[in-house]
């Protein structure tokens, strides 16, 4: 039947084949074009504007403005606030994740909702809440001021405001990861006689370290840049309660454009470093992060 001598007619060029589960190349490139153009205009352009405005009068002017006392004080205060707020929120995140994932109790969903609450409260309202609790004209605040511990218009208020707006970050990242990992490994360690702290340091922490780092990274980025909540509680005292974002606002309103944008450029550079680290974590340790971040 099959004669080797017969040659089937082969078309000079096979027609291009497109899988039925793909868009046509024209549509594909159109969508990519819209995405790239949209992000360039909406996100990349503002980023570039920070640096061009900072360098509008040259490098020297930008660097000089950063060595000014107001700028240095602001950088120092922001670093201090971050060094207080982020570790405290990390401790909270670990404790909350342990409590929620290692034990069974009623009202767990409600507790998770409460932890997420700060994400749906306006930062300005968050600051307002703190003023109404700790302000000098309230019962608690007045008593604290009398004891010599003012909260509002002072460092503790700024730290509390920063903690409020960044409160859920670490817990939110750890809870899904620890639910997925279950309790089997901890239970095994328990039957082998390990103490609670030993279980945490040698079993749990190595399992959650990348997720913890990821949560801390997000918390840190937001903590350094928080504006609305801090603006309400800080009182904006130069050299004392003016964080970097607050100082940027004050300089901008005084038409010190180069100084404002130079300080903004420092924060932007830190944001870019955060993104870089975050992307690196997502690529190298995708399996260790919460399901929603998988790539």
């Amino acid at each position: 039947m099959f004669d080797a001598g017969v040659k089937l007619p082969v078309p000079a060029k096979a027609p291009r084949f497109r899988p039925a589960t793909q868009e046509s190349p024209a549509v594909r490139w159109l969508l990519i074009g819209i995405a790239v153009l949209g992000l360039a205009v909406l996100v990349v352009a503002p980023l570039a504007a920070v640096f061009t405005e900072a360098l509008a009068k040259g490098w020297a002017a930008a660097v000089t403005s950063l060595t000014h006392k107001d700028a240095r004080d602001a950088i120092r205060l922001t670093l201090l606030i971050t060094a207080i707020a982020v570790p405290l929120n990390a401790v909270f995140g670990i404790a909350a994740a342990w409590f929620i994932t290692k034990f069974d109790f009623r009202g767990k969903a409600f507790l998770i909702t409460l932890i997420d609450l700060p994400f749906s409260v306006s930062p300005v309202v968050a600051g307002l809440c703190l003023v109404l609790l700790f302000g000098a004209n309230t019962a608690l605040g007045g008593w604290l001021v009398a004891q010599g511990y003012p909260i509002i218009f002072a460092l503790p208020g700024i730290a509390l405001a920063t903690m409020f707006v960044t409160f859920p970050f670490v817990a939110r990242e750890l809870i899904p990861v620890m639910i997925e990992q279950g309790r089997v490994e901890e239970e095994a360690a328990l039957t082998l006689g390990a103490s609670g702290w030993r279980i945490f340091w040698t079993v749990t922490l190595p399992n959650i370290r990348w997720a913890l780092l990821y949560g801390v990274l997000l918390c840190n980025a937001r903590a350094m840049g928080e504006f609305g909540a801090v603006a309400v509680v800080s009182g904006k005292i130069r050299g004392q309660t003016a964080t970097m974002p607050i100082t940027i606002e004050m300089m901008y309103n005084e038409y010190l454009s180069v100084a404002a944008f130079s300080l903004a450029a420092v924060l932007t550079a830190l944001a870019l470093v955060t993104l870089l680290l975050k992307t690196a974590l997502e690529i190298r340790h995708a399996d260790a992060l919460a399901a929603t971040h998988r790539h």
Partner: protein, 278 residues
């Protein structure tokens, strides 16, 4: 007899983890919010209504809500498109594009605010282009809308992305073998699967935009009745030491954001039921 309040467990650290969780949650979040509600209660419902029921407050609340809704709708469409492009297509620079989506999360709001103002001011790069066609962006409602689009940009893309990754190709193939066009498959098979996640992102973007302050106040111009947002009113009341007035507007904003989240949750439950468990 129902579940016990707390099931017995041999796992260590119950007291410590529960203690830290509840203490910190109370000090940082619950007590301050309680103080706001208490202040409102002692001020009285009638008095609070008097504060809120003024043209300036209504127009600020309405402006914040309306522009946030517009920005969230824009981000809903653009976010789904972004997620689709980032997951399904391979092209040079995809990783950079993916990282750029997160920039609005990482960039401090005050920095975003002054940067957007510099761009869209009449003498800025985009502002001067707009001026040539006779449009003013900065210091108008357009400026506020652009700032709100910026801060809400990542939410929908980031919630939808993992869902697209998990869609099984077989579903699309089945649809195609049954004779559906690609557009029909996207519209009637893919889009319904993305709807719940997209709505979640939409809700998050909306909640964020309604409360947004830092990125908006620089570009808004802050003219009463025209470009004054609700959070700014609270700041103004506080600067006048009118704590009762600030509390009244703060509670109104809390109520609006909770009502919105509730509505979105109901829509989500409804859409899950209609489409099945996805």
């Amino acid at each position: 007899m129902g579940r016990p309040l707390l099931q017995r467990s041999p796992m260590p650290g119950l007291g410590l983890s529960m203690g830290i969780t509840l203490t910190m949650l109370s000090i940082v979040v619950l007590l301050p919010i309680g103080a706001l509600l208490l202040r409102g209660a002692s001020f009285g419902l009638g008095n609070m209504w008097e504060v809120v029921n003024r043209p300036r407050v209504w127009s600020a609340l309405f402006l914040s809500f309306r522009l946030s809704l517009l920005a969230a709708v824009f981000n809903l469409v653009f976010g789904v498109l972004l997620a689709w492009v980032l997951v399904r297509y391979r092209f040079p620079g995809r990783r950079i594009l993916d990282a750029a989506v997160d920039l609005p999360f990482a960039l401090p709001t005050a920095v975003a605010g002054i940067a957007l103002t510099a761009l869209y001011a009449p003498n800025g790069a985009f502002g001067s282009l707009a001026r040539e066609v006779g449009v003013k962006i900065a210091y108008t409602q357009w400026g506020i809308l652009i700032a709100l689009i910026f801060v809400g940009l990542p939410f929908v893309a980031r919630t939808v992305q993992p869902v697209i990754e998990e869609i099984e190709r077989e579903v699309e193939e089945a649809s195609a073998t049954l004779g559906a066009s690609r557009f029909y498959t996207l519209r009637h098979v893919i889009l319904p699967m993305l709807a719940p996640a997209a709505l979640t992102g939409f809700a998050l973007a909306l909640a964020r935009a309604v409360g947004e302050y830092g990125s908006v106040i620089f570009i808004a111009g802050n003219i009463p009745l025209l470009t004054e947002i609700a959070p700014l009113l609270i700041v103004i009341q506080l600067e006048e030491f009118n704590y009762d007035g600030a509390a009244a507007i703060g509670i109104a904003m809390l109520l609006i954001s909770f009502a919105m989240l509730l509505a979105i949750n109901l829509i989500q439950i409804w859409s899950r039921r209609r489409i099945g468990h996805v």
